[in-house]
């Protein structure tokens, strides 16, 4: 068998990124070896793109020994779905898209049900359904500890009860890089290979490894409307404008990607990777500031995680 070399002509990673890459690959291999039915949660964003890239590296020259699951709420940016399908085709991935059928039936939208209930039904419940259907005992996610204060507390192997609940008061010790993958039937583990990465690490890695991203991460003139202090993309017909709202065209980009009605854009001139990184290094607000679902209250992420959210 001929082994392909993807890195010809590419300068080596700096030691900081190399150490993070090595750690992530180690986690991927350990989970794949110890669990019977692993799966990878793929959300199409920058962290998922890095996660997928690391998975491909971990199992090279073999294929990924697990499928990918995408929780599709139906309200993702259309460019995300197009990008997802391209990536799946290019790498020959096994991707399962899941939407909560009850939520679909009841027409649950961010507008009709409010962000908290919508997120619970279309994301948390949908995720639990998908994991139950596949009887997965381990799920990789791209969460990073620097994202949020309760994530900063989470183990690399985050133990979940049969109801997918996280008990932050009772986490297993996690010593050295020795992971305890033993669980009882029905229990599962969420594994986070990017735990120790920061937002800047992600961008530097994307640059160094030339990883492709959804174009929404780069500034462009886009139609937006200002709502609750967020700049919402106004390109989807399902977005109903309130009486005093006006659609404007502005140079904007996104720091995180989720459901378009709940994800705020930032005004930016950064059209290239270099410019994005430069912008980040002097940024005075955190990346989650643009996310409606995280802003409800301090501790809302922990609450969602206890209920089974990633």
């Amino acid at each position: 068998m001929n082994v392909i070399e993807h890195g010809r002509g590419k300068p080596p990673l700096d030691p900081h990124l190399k150490a993070l890459e090595n750690e992530a690959i180690h986690i991927f291999r350990e989970v794949a070896a110890e669990f019977e039915r692993p799966v990878m949660l793929y959300s199409i964003g920058k962290d998922s793109s890095v996660l997928l890239h690391l998975a491909l590296k971990a199992f090279h020259p073999g294929k990924l020994p697990f499928p990918l699951v995408h929780i599709d709420t139906g309200w993702k940016f259309p460019e995300m779905i197009a990008f997802r399908d391209q990536v799946v085709a290019r790498h020959g991935l096994d991707l399962i898209a899941h939407t909560n059928p009850e939520g679909l039936r009841d027409n649950v939208t961010p507008f009709s049900h409010g962000s908290a209930r919508y997120t619970d039904i279309m994301k948390t419940q949908a995720l639990k359904q998908a994991l139950d259907i596949g009887r997965y005992d381990a799920a990789f996610g791209g969460a990073r500890r620097d994202e949020e204060a309760s994530r900063a507390k989470e183990r690399i192997y985050s133990f979940r009860t049969p109801d997918h609940a996280w008990d932050p008061r009772n986490q297993r010790p996690e010593l050295w890089s020795i992971h305890n993958g033993m669980i009882h039937p029905g229990e599962s583990v969420r594994a986070f290979p990017l735990s120790n990465w920061t937002e800047v690490d992600i961008w530097r890695y994307i640059q160094a490894e030339r990883i492709e991203l959804v174009p929404l991460y780069f500034a462009e003139r886009r139609k937006v409307v200002e709502r609750d202090g967020m700049l919402i993309l106004a390109e989807d017909k399902r977005l109903e404008l309130l009486p005093d709202e006006q659609v404007r065209e502005e140079m904007v980009r996104f720091r995180t990607l989720g459901c378009f009605p709940l994800t705020g854009a930032v005004r930016s001139q950064a059209t290239t990777l270099d410019e994005v990184i430069e912008e980040l290094e002097i940024a005075t607000v955190s990346e989650r500031q643009g996310r409606a679902i995280d802003r409800d209250q301090s501790g809302s992420m922990e609450k969602k995680k206890r209920e089974g959210y990633f």
């Binding site: 890195g7 020795i178 800047v200 609450k303």
Partner: protein, 495 residues
């Protein structure tokens, strides 16, 4: 100390506190090394989380929206100085905020112009010692906090001991809340002296003692010269910037095999992370426990087929002949092999409420190898006297020496020579929880004695019998138990 200088300092700090995240480029630091990993530890309420919160604040790692949240969450909990409750930057769990204590480790990332850091803020409460151990296991350095008013407590000793057992050789002693002890130099000197004594008994020689006020940010990033003119040493951040990274392993090549990759005809690769030494094509290796020998044909990675790999690299190794290798095996340098056998001695930190029960069979996991083991505690550390006393049971949070007996071959280096291949965890077979962290001291021969050293490398000293027992209880004797041979008077006479 004049009240004027104090109020000036407070005003300065306050202005710093209201202007987070100024235009500053800490992330453009030299990234020519992996980040330094350190922990904060010490007794409950000594100010660990406040210290890290303050450190993040003063290195501009707190963004505007996070600062706004902190101010909002601090209302009602503000101290008399009107400063935010910096610990809330770390104590992110609801239960922690309600009780005002840390329950589990928080990992945070920050940089200065010189260096990047991963800090694990660990809980002081004895009930959560397991979480402290989690943070300590991967750290290069420990910042041990002491409340200047209370001095060194049992929990301070416990944390210092666990940190040193886990191989941390650099300590910063942060004598905190010095503002509440009138910035008293004598107090600082006394506590530093007490701690140096403890450190020496643990074999730790590198201690930097710094008087600090975590809350007010004195000697953290900014100097506290105005209020502590008697202190001319470095700030905390300066000390961290100069700290060295743990050099890791002194053993030969080690590759614990995580997976065997067989994607298609003809290809068979062994995947794992190099846990010691280095390797290149053509090198001779041995597969353990089988003992089969082979040569390295190629080192495959996604990017390139490489001509060398070093400790830390995640690789796929291809050998020059078909040999039987499975997950849990170890591929090692042919001329620098790890120890193999069925009986080892180790030191252990017990992490579960049930403690470690003699004669119980546990799962032991080391690297990718998991096997059954019988554990028999032989002595436990008394934290008040510093002595190792005979014991057959280890209670929760207990630190002890144990004998390990395996049903099949185990493969280890001593923890002292290799932190990766000398460490293990114990898993309870019923709860499946991780119940202990362990560090290998050496192999035990059938007679029950160690055989870490051949006779040719031995020298003999003799002690009065009455001193022998005391000597054997010291940390030094325990640490070198594998090398010390005790002979009775008749034996010595006979020689």
């Amino acid at each position: 100390m004049s009240s004027q200088s104090l109020s000036q300092t407070a005003a300065e700090i306050d202005s710093a506190a209201t202007e987070p995240a100024a235009l500053h480029h800490p992330e453009t630091v030299a990234r020519q090394a992996r980040p330094l990993r350190f922990i904060t530890c010490g007794s409950v309420d000594d100010g660990k989380s406040t210290l890290i919160g303050r450190l993040l604040w003063d290195t501009k790692a707190v963004k505007e929206d996070q600062a706004a949240t902190l101010r909002r969450d601090s209302t009602g909990k503000q101290n008399e100085l009107g400063l935010p409750d910096f610990a809330l930057l770390l104590d992110g769990l609801q239960a922690e905020r309600e009780q005002g204590i840390t329950i589990d480790v928080a990992y945070r990332y920050f940089s200065t112009d010189r260096r990047s850091f991963i800090v694990a803020d660990t809980p002081g409460h004895v009930q959560y010692t397991r979480n402290m151990a989690t943070g300590a296991s991967t750290a290069d350095l420990a910042v041990l906090l002491v409340d200047a008013r209370a001095g060194i407590l049992e929990q301070t000793r416990r944390h210092a001991t666990i940190a040193s057992l886990m191989g941390i050789r650099q300590f910063v002693l942060a004598v905190n809340k010095i503002d509440l002890a009138d910035y008293d130099e004598a107090r600082f000197r006394t506590i530093s002296r007490d701690f140096r004594e403890i450190a020496l008994s643990l074999g730790v020689r590198q201690v930097t003692a710094i008087p600090v006020s975590a809350l007010k940010g004195e000697n953290i990033v900014m100097r506290g010269g105005e209020v502590m003119p008697w202190y001319g040493g470095p700030t905390l951040v300066e000390t961290l910037e100069k700290a060295t990274q743990r050099t890791g392993q002194t053993t030969g090549f080690r590759l614990p095999v995580q997976r065997v990759s067989r994607p298609g005809e003809g290809f068979r690769g062994y995947q794992g992370t190099v846990a010691g030494g280095s390797i290149k094509p053509g090198d001779s290796v041995v597969v353990l426990p089988s003992g089969v020998e082979a040569n390295v044909k190629a080192i495959v990675t996604y990017d390139l087929v490489r001509n060398a790999a070093v400790a830390g690299d995640a690789i796929t190794l291809v050998l020059d002949r078909p040999v039987d290798v499975a997950r849990g095996d170890m591929i090692a340098a042919i001329d620098q092999r790890p120890q193999t056998g069925r009986a080892f001695n180790a030191r252990l930190v017990a992490l579960s409420p049930d403690g470690i029960v003699p004669g119980k069979r546990y799962w032991l996991k080391a690297g990718a190898r998991r096997q059954r083991v019988m554990v028999r505690p032989t002595s436990a550390l008394d934290l008040t006297s510093g002595n190792w006393d005979d014991a057959s049971f280890l209670p929760v949070n207990g630190i002890g020496v144990v004998e390990l007996d395996f049903e099949d071959t185990a493969i280890f280096d001593t923890y002292e020579t290799n932190r990766e291949t000398g460490a293990f965890i114990l898993i309870d077979p019923e709860s499946l929880n991780t119940v202990a962290g362990g560090m290998i001291d050496g192999k035990r021969s059938k007679s029950g004695r160690f055989d870490a050293l051949p006779d040719a490398d031995r020298a003999t000293i003799t002690l009065p019998a009455r001193l022998l027992e005391t000597f054997l209880k010291t940390e030094f004797a325990r640490a070198h138990a594998g090398e010390i041979r005790v002979a009775g008077p008749e034996e010595v006479d006979g020689e």
